[in-house]
């Protein structure tokens, strides 16, 4: 089972304690009524679905219950880094195998 480092608990915990929250850094529109149908489509449904390094949300549901972000390699399932909600995606994580 994958071990995931919760940046709040600062511990490596098994995957079953966590729920997946989908792609990270998708900002909610500030003025929803101003959006075109295509912009709504992009916000709601279009996803990067990256083969490689993917920024995504996780929630430590059976722990501190908080959301955080992670960069994971979707080919190997290896977690490169996890970081707190509100922090930017670490710039150094650009290629497979890179570390924070």
């Amino acid at each position: 089972m994958i071990l995931i480092h919760c940046p709040y608990c600062e511990e490596d915990r098994p995957e079953v304690e966590f729920t997946y929250g989908g792609e990270a850094h998708i900002a909610r529109p500030l003025d929803p009524s101003a959006l075109t149908d295509s912009e709504w489509e992009g916000y709601l449904y279009i996803r990067s679905n990256t083969r490689g390094l993917h920024a995504e949300r996780w929630r430590h549901a059976h722990g501190c219950a908080r959301f955080f972000n992670a960069v994971r390699d979707t080919v190997s399932d290896r977690f490169e880094v996890t970081y707190k909600t509100g922090e930017a995606r670490p710039a150094k994580i650009t290629q497979t195998g890179g570390a924070a």
Binding site: M1, W40, Y45, R51, H54, E56, S76
Partner: protein, 417 residues
């Protein structure tokens, strides 16, 4: 192509079976084709077959990055059914189920389609209401589906535990008698052999790495590991890797790719006569003609291209199987594996044109596209040949995620299918 027949079999028996030709000889790609299909799964090879067999377009290549059938086409649990809720889905999936009949004869290849019936178990009030709604909707669409009491379920599938105090009590079930299974590999091989016999080139071990477009935006061809290959039209049928391929044409898609796992037991004598699905507990089971119990799980929770999943998903599925069929608690599991399935927001496929001229797509079949193989292949071929969708797949367009005209089987089933 040398046909399989009783006579040819006898003749070959005298000859030590040395006269059977190769099904799909190794080919170097030509500089250009009329149509290129990206992805050598059942859907892509079938599309090439129907382009040649039905529409007379034989200057076609199927380009596969690994070996044909190495993707989900060769990794699935082979369940076939068409009892989907919405009119569009019922027509789409039933188009395929009708084609399974007679496919062995058409391809001169035994795809072992077996109408052993698919029984979906209801474990709670919500299941009962939702299944009965499906049954009524299906009947209005001419799709067979019937309600069975717990005792009738037990009679249809004797290993089932229907005792009222079971962990997952069986309150009834929906049975589609025309549903069943087929041998996944032979579907792929049959289409490949049939396509090659009609002039199609199958190019294996050759990943597509780019899609080239002209100044007007229309496709020019593909960059591959074996160089550039020109094409007037390109059909993408790359299942779990569709987002990656579409990105090559500058398109972003409403898809996410997840691992889906399956496993088989040691082979035993015939004990399990049908297919049983339990959506509520995420477990599907049937017995292959080799004797293995074939068991499918739900998807893993995260986006992945690893073609493997986590053990706790399988544990959950096996726990459910053992509760519903206590007789199997001491069966040993032989192998487990995963495939990468491309899932849309409404859990219905996307089959049609794209915003790029000359580029067509067949994707989003997610956890349930094996059953659709002949139908999806036929409709992709139709759409490419006519540069327009058939009435059956018109609603399964890419625009629906902008217009809101979903075919929301996800909400209808509330689970994977």
């Amino acid at each position: 192509m040398k046909r399989f027949s009783g006579l040819n079999l006898i003749a070959e028996a005298m000859n030590g079976h040395k006269g059977w030709p190769e099904h799909w000889p190794e080919k170097a790609p030509k500089p250009a084709y009329d149509v290129i299909i990206i992805g050598g799964g059942g859907h892509g090879l079938g599309a090439a077959y129907y382009l040649a067999a039905k529409y007379g377009i034989t200057n076609v290549a199927v380009i596969e990055k690994g070996w044909i059938g190495g993707g989900n086409g060769g990794r699935n649990t082979t369940i076939i059914r068409s009892n989907y809720l919405y009119d569009e889905s019922a027509h789409l999936y039933d188009h395929a189920v009708k084609m399974w009949d007679g496919l062995s004869q058409e391809l001169n290849y035994n795809v072992m389609y077996s109408k052993r019936g698919v029984l979906m178990l209801a474990h709670n009030i919500h299941d009962i209401q939702s299944f009965k709604r499906h049954i009524h909707a299906n009947r209005l669409n001419g799709v067979d589906n019937e309600w069975l009491t717990p005792e009738e379920c037990k009679a249809y599938c004797p290993p089932l535990d229907i005792s009222p105090n079971a962990r997952h009590p069986v309150l009834g079930g929906a049975l589609q008698r025309r549903g069943g299974t087929a041998r996944h590999d032979t579907v792929i091989w049959g289409y490949a052999r049939g396509a090659v016999a009609r002039g199609v080139d199958i190019i294996q071990n050759c990943a597509v790495t780019g899609i080239r477009r002209g100044p007007d935006g229309a496709v020019l061809g593909v960059d591959t590991e074996k160089g550039f290959i020109g094409a007037k039209k390109i059909g993408v049928s790359a299942a779990g890797n569709t987002s990656v391929v579409m990105d090559m044409a500058g398109l972003r898609f409403p898809l996410e790719s997840y691992p889906l796992q399956a496993l088989v037991s040691e082979p035993v004598k015939p004990i399990f006569p049908c297919v049983v699905m339990s959506n509520t507990v995420h477990a599907y089971i049937s017995q292959s003609d080799k004797g293995e119990l074939v068991i499918g799980a739900g998807t893993d929770q995260y986006v992945s291209y690893s073609q493997r999943g986590a053990l706790h998903i399988i544990e959950h599925t096996l726990a459910a199987i053992c509760e519903i069929f206590p007789i199997f608690t001491r069966m040993r599991m032989l192998r487990s594996w995963g495939g990468i399935v491309d899932v849309t927001p409404d859990r219905s496929p996307i089959l049609g044109k794209t915003p790029v001229a000359g580029l067509y797509v067949n994707c989003g079949w997610g956890t349930g596209g094996f059953k659709a193989t002949p139908g999806a292949a036929d409709l992709l071929a139709y759409t490419i040949a006519h540069d327009a969708p058939n009435a059956i797949n018109a609603a399964f367009n890419l625009d629906r995620f902008r217009t809101g005209r979903f075919i929301d089987e996800a909400a209808a089933a509330a689970v994977a299918h």
